[in-house]
């Protein structure tokens, strides 16, 4: 068997693009400084390993999208899962991509304005839907909503 090499050529199979989405619970509430440290660390590593994505944080809960070469993403997910800063890591969706959704972000982040009131009757809450609903149709819709929101916020340069 050929040993794995660092150099990935176009003929290698592990370059298939994979997107993985998970939800987790922070072991302790993250301060803005702790989040910044985590983002700095993530962006440095991801930039070097060709991983892109988005991190969401609300009320002590994370949702993260990771995209990149399949093996890289799976290995990173294993590392992240064992990070003591969070627990209850639950993978919500894994799918192959032809194109990255977060090509411009080694780890995109925008602060979420936490709603002060419960969602009005008849409305869904994207974050809650992702965390509590295992139906893939709901999961995909909620991810799409959060992705759209992220792009709008990122474009407005906040």
């Amino acid at each position: 068997m050929a040993p794995e090499t660092q150099m990935v050529t176009e003929t290698d199979r592990p370059t298939a693009l994979l997107s993985a989405v998970y939800a987790s619970v922070a072991t302790r509430e993250f301060s803005r400084d702790q989040l910044d440290d985590l983002l700095r660390q993530s962006r440095r590593n991801n930039g070097a390993s060709d991983v892109t994505g988005m991190l969401l944080y609300r009320d002590g809960r994370f949702i993260q999208v990771l995209e990149g070469p399949e093996k890289t993403v799976r290995d990173l997910l294993a590392v992240i899962k064992s990070d003591p800063r969070h627990e209850k890591v639950r993978v919500l969706l894994e799918e192959h991509l032809t194109e990255r959704t977060f090509a411009d972000w080694t780890m995109g982040y925008e602060p979420i304005r936490v709603p002060s009131s419960p969602v009005a009757p008849g409305f869904r809450d994207s974050f809650d839907d992702l965390e509590s609903d295992d139906d893939p149709t709901t999961t995909r819709r909620a991810i799409r909503e959060l992705t759209l929101w992220f792009r709008v916020r990122a474009a407005s340069g906040s």
């Binding site: 994207s126 839907d129 995909r140 929101w149 709008v152």
Partner: protein
């Protein structure tokens, strides 16, 4: 019988789904298709955007903004 669907001559009308992403930010979809979104600007102003994220107006209430998003879609601009 599904009380949320109205049967017309051609096809059932499927109710749109509205989801809040954060305070004053709502995304509309129907049967998995993105319809548009509403971004609250504070001070009781809600900007509505169509399925191509083009602005369709600014409104005093979320309800009015929702109607504007749906109207922009049914005008055929999304079809």
């Amino acid at each position: 019988m599904n009380v949320r669907a109205t049967v017309t001559e051609h096809s059932p009308v499927i109710e749109p789904t509205w989801a809040r992403v954060e305070a004053d930010f709502y995304v509309g979809s129907r049967a998995g298709e993105f319809l548009g979104y509403i971004d609250g600007k504070g001070g009781g102003a809600f900007r509505a955007y169509d399925t191509f994220s083009r602005p369709v107006g600014e409104f005093d209430t979320v309800r009015d903004a929702m109607h504007a998003v749906l109207a922009a879609t049914s005008n055929g601009s999304a079809l």
